[in-house]
């Protein structure tokens, strides 16, 4: 009986120590686990031709800190982390290329200028609240199509401020932000097709008029 008590006591003590740890947490891209909330086959085939040329900039004044959850939270390189997150768009069928000094793939590529504005976790009483905010400007052929701010939020009860909890909170927040981006990409990737269709229609009409003119002559 006593032995059991000691074991339970020791376990509780260890659990308390784990919960009270004030050591900083470093999150890395290896902890990235964004839900691959991909789209169905039909939509995938629609976006398959859409090429995304992505540039990511971290605009935060303090590029290391990700806030505090009873312990400081850090990430060494969030642009690296974000690149991994945006690679998830490949599972939707997009052709994703990151700016490594290369030119955009063809004139029809959709250029995404992604700026990370905020990324932090904080504790509010017994809860933990995580926010990630991006500003994205979409361009095609140097014409800006859209300029929008996306925010992913995750709100959960904070159990022990553990590394797993912190990683999970950021993953959920990123997933939510990415969901809104995916929704806009669907619309933006349709534009060139519509334009292409209307261009073809105009060409057909012109050819038809020329043909009629020739016949009259």
């Amino acid at each position: 009986m006593n032995k059991k008590f000691y074991i339970i006591g020791a376990l509780l003590f260890l659990l308390m120590l784990c919960g009270c740890s004030s050591d900083p947490v470093y999150i890395s891209k290896s902890s990235l686990d964004i839900t691959d909330d991909g789209q169905n086959g039909q939509e995938t085939s629609e976006v398959g031709k859409c090429q995304l040329f992505i540039t990511i900039t971290d605009e935060r004044p303090d590029k290391k800190s990700l806030g505090e959850l009873q312990r400081p939270v850090y990430a060494e390189d969030m642009t690296d982390w974000l690149s991994e997150a945006f690679k998830k768009l490949r599972s939707d069928g997009y052709q994703v290329v990151f700016n490594n000094g290369l030119e955009a793939i063809g004139g029809q590529a959709l250029t995404m200028d992604v700026k990370l504005k905020k990324a932090y976790i904080k504790s509010v009483s017994a809860s933990k609240i995580t926010n990630v905010v991006f500003g994205i400007r979409y361009f095609r052929n140097d014409n800006m199509l859209k300029d929008k701010v996306y925010r992913g939020i995750d709100e959960r009860i904070n159990w022990a401020s553990s590394e797993n909890e912190i990683n999970s909170a950021f993953n959920h927040a990123f997933t939510k932000a990415l969901l809104a981006i995916r929704s806009d990409l669907k619309e933006l990737c349709k534009i060139p097709e519509e334009k292409a269709i209307s261009k073809k229609k105009n060409e057909d009409e012109l050819f038809c008029c020329i043909h009629k003119f020739k016949v009259r002559l």
């Binding site: 806030g67 905020k118 009483s125 017994a126 926010n131 500003g135 925010r151 939020i153």
Partner: protein, 302 residues
């Protein structure tokens, strides 16, 4: 039994008294003369504005227990979610507002008037951790370093907006070490401050209403009121830093001045620069309150 109760109350009172943190340590005149230069470090504790929540007190009311703690936790979580949702339009309108650099510029301007402080570098830092403050302390080339830790937020009912900051002046040069009132082995520990205070800017809605009405006041017209409040608050915080570090008189000496109560804050008037009134509380803490021709300014008779 009654004796025991009295004894318990007495012990609690003594313990509470012992725990009360000293808010203000004015800068000693002699110490001031030994400061040859000062570097300033602004530690940003938050990336975005937030709203406070009223914490659930079921545990307190029922005397504790696991069930009560769980209820508190659930209620607080729900309130935190609601507060986050309420403040979202304000957050979105401030995404590109650079709080840190705006404050840095204002402090740069305000401390120009404090010539004896001879301010060198003003640096923006992340959160104040032991690691960060130790690094700043080692890197500073000045004889003293001033640490500023601002936070900006709304009250839970969105009635008031505040920018509050603790400020600590740490001695670095050997000649300043003797002015420490308390001492810690870590040179960058805030306990070693030779001057410290809590400075707060406060602004309230023009016409108080329910939470939703208050929120509307701040958010209407692309949150123009919040942007103005932030801009005013940052300027006032920078002004208070310059005023307070320049004062060598103790709060009890300043209590001879005009006493007022403004937006629930009672103290002595330090400065009036319409619409801002700077007040020092009895514990030395300083408030700048925006009160444009406010009839609620109550003059307190001596």
């Amino acid at each position: 039994m009654r004796k025991i109760n009295l004894l318990v109350i007495l012990v609690i009172s003594i313990v509470s008294f012992g725990c009360a943190a000293k808010v203000h340590t004015p800068l000693n005149q002699e110490a001031r003369e030994n400061i040859s230069s000062c570097d300033i470090y602004i530690f940003l504790q938050q990336q975005e504005i937030y709203a406070e929540i009223d914490k659930s007190k079921v545990s307190m009311a029922t005397g504790g227990g696991l069930i009560a703690a769980l209820i508190d936790s659930a209620v607080d979580h729900s309130r935190a979610k609601k507060a986050e949702a309420s403040i979202m339009p304000i957050k979105n309108s401030l995404v590109d507002f650079d709080f840190g650099n705006t404050l840095k510029k204002e402090i740069q301007n305000s401390v120009k008037s404090v010539t004896w402080l001879n301010v060198g570098q003003i640096n923006l830092e992340g959160m104040l951790t032991e690691e960060n403050s130790d690094r700043c302390f080692v890197n500073a080339s000045a004889s003293a370093i001033l640490l500023v830790q601002p936070s900006y937020y709304f009250s839970s009912d969105f009635k008031s907006f505040k920018i509050a900051s603790s400020v600590h002046l740490l001695p670095k040069s050997e000649s300043l070490q003797k002015y420490k009132t308390e001492s810690d082995e870590r040179p960058a520990d805030l306990e070693n401050a030779i001057y410290k205070n809590v400075l707060t800017y406060q602004e309230e809605v023009v016409k108080e209403g329910e939470k939703e009405e208050n929120l509307q006041y701040w958010t209407e017209d692309k949150s123009i009121q919040v942007k103005t409040a932030l801009s005013d608050g940052i300027k006032e915080l920078a002004r208070m830093i310059a005023i307070d570090i320049n004062r060598t008189d103790l709060p009890d000496q300043s209590s001879k001045g005009e006493k007022i109560e403004l937006q629930g804050i009672e103290g002595n008037v330090i400065s009036r620069d319409n619409p801002f009134v700077i007040i020092q509380l009895d514990n030395g803490a300083m408030f700048s309150i925006k009160a444009p021709d406010n009839p609620s300014v109550a003059q307190i008779a001596d």
